[in-house]
Symmetry: C2
Subunit: 338 residues, 2 copies
């Protein structure tokens, strides 16, 4: 197997200290590959990068209409939130609308990604709950789908549960890849994650961005998810975090979602393109730099958008006294022009 | 350039999700290479992995004797501590003995690595200080050396300062590699870090473990640092952290120190060997697994030591509900027997 190319270099002084290999692919909405870097056919787990696809049944099942879900609620169902008070308030609102409660969440518990929120818990002597889990918005969406399907919500994270079957069907329809027991692993939040080619993830996002080749119900759901993310980028990640910064800068022209272990995916609706990136070693710092470079290459927009993307694709590294001691940069394999 | 081999695989379900490439080398005290994996001649920054070598002037300069430094103080000067109350108390004691104060520390500030200590700061409404920086023990040692050399301590982190010249000379003497402006970068704690071949790092640790080919003053200093780390492994990192667990299990037969960006180094005094590991992408999770596998291969000891090292070389991954969903494992390239 030929190793994937080096896509990110981390330098200190005038030397490369560490580097990241990976693969990336750009496809159009018919799944035609426009550009590839590295092996984009090896099955990879897309993890949380496909949350916007996993949220499609929330609209397509009728749950969003039945419970009157807001755009902020659809955005947080498509996101990995930071566990701030604002995020929790939106998730709790969704649960109430579906007649569900936080104890029904099966995502498990971790402390808020947002540092200030995490410290605030300690200052108030409060333990983190499943609501603080970055996936609780997605899981609240799953509980809404369970209610809309009149299914017992218990065990909604199990592969055979009606909700997970709807989600796997939406993933299969958008990506064109099979989602079955043979390629199934378990995600951090206990739902299945399916290993599929990176090119299939990109195809899923190209279709999410355009509705091309999707059944009407999924195409309409895709439009609602796009509208939600564009209206509430702060619900997809949180202040200062990559997905929120990129989606806010894009103003509807970018729908980007990263996930654990170096995964990233994006739709460029106005260009009809989908993008997927996987860093071999799973590094978040690397996928963000690569994604920013690809987005910036494809979507030369206003100077404000370009400045955000260029800044994310070539970042200064500071030490504990604030001295710039190196950089994190996309390499020429990613390139300024694809 | 041939890519380094895959040394660690991170699996989810029955598939490899992410993987890490890297290099490793085992040498004897004369610098003869016993075993290599990947490119061990490319210059790399050893970062905090060489703290035990950077601590040699603290003894060799006479500072340790003059200020009556304890073994705990020599251990924390060789370590990357977790910022617990116990760690801070030892660092403050060193500073007092040298007539120095925390405001003289030039390492910069970060929050304690130890989560409970970090939360305790918030609960008490206290800001982190340079004392909490994992390098403050090393820097307190530098201030002791400055005093012993009758040098103005201001700017002790600058390459031209007498303290940094002593440290660079000790690194050159032990590793056999040149340490000059041509291969100098700036470390996270503001002191110079010099890019040298991985094999030279291993040689430095083989000599640290044996005193072979070192001037008497450095050989005696090496013996004191070994004694200090063996007596106080909890000062080198902290409860539950890799270096502390490994050094405690080794009981003097292992002196292991990891650093940022996937660096690790170890001495096996009883075998007269030195080890160095660099993960290409800089991942801590990977260097720990590789180091544990190499240590376990070379040093089959009591069943207790073997159990600790085997457990660290092949770790279960759990999700947020505690379900085991994968593993982090050294590959056959590292191997059970070298």
């Amino acid at each position: 197997m030929t190793p994937n190319p080096v896509v990110v270099e981390v330098s200190r002084g005038d030397r490369v200290e560490s580097f990241h290999r990976g693969a990336a692919v750009v496809v159009d909405a018919r799944g035609i590959i426009i550009h590839t870097i590295g092996d984009t056919q090896r099955p990879i787990y897309p993890r949380s990068a496909v949350k916007p696809l996993q949220a499609l049944p929330l609209v397509a099942s009728g749950a969003a209409d039945r419970f009157g879900l807001s755009l902020a609620e659809l955005a947080i169902a498509s996101g990995s939130h930071a566990g701030t008070a604002d995020h929790l308030s939106v998730v709790e609102g969704m649960l109430r609308k579906a007649g569900s409660t936080p104890v029904q969440l099966e995502c498990g518990t971790h402390r808020p990604f947002d540092e200030a929120s995490s410290r605030d818990l300690d200052a108030r002597g409060i333990q983190a709950t499943p609501l603080h889990n970055n996936c609780s918005g997605k899981h609240a969406g799953f509980l809404c789908v369970a209610r809309a399907l009149d299914a017992d919500p218990t065990g909604y994270t199990e592969p055979a549960h009606p909700v997970m079957r709807e989600v796997a069907a939406a993933l299969a329809a958008t990506t064109g890849a099979s989602h079955d027991t043979a390629n199934r692993g378990t995600d951090g939040c206990s739902i299945p994650t399916f290993a599929i080619p990176l090119s299939a993830v990109a195809t899923g996002f190209a279709r999410l961005g355009t509705g091309t080749d999707l059944p009407d119900s999924l195409a309409r759901a895709a439009a609602r998810i796009r509208e939600a993310v564009a209206a509430h980028p702060e619900m997809v990640a949180g202040a200062g975090r990559f997905d929120t910064r990129v989606n806010a800068a894009g103003g509807g022209a970018i729908l980007c979602k990263c996930g654990a272990e170096g995964m990233g995916a994006a739709a460029l609706p106005t260009l009809g393109l989908g993008i997927a990136v996987k860093i071999d070693d799973g590094a978040s710092r690397a996928v963000e730099v690569v994604m920013a470079r690809i987005l910036g290459s494809l979507l030369r927009g206003t100077s404000e958008v370009d400045a955000v993307l260029d800044g994310l694709a070539d970042q200064a590294l500071q030490n504990w006294r604030g001295t710039v001691i190196g950089r994190v940069q996309a390499t020429h394999h990613v390139g300024r022009t694809l």
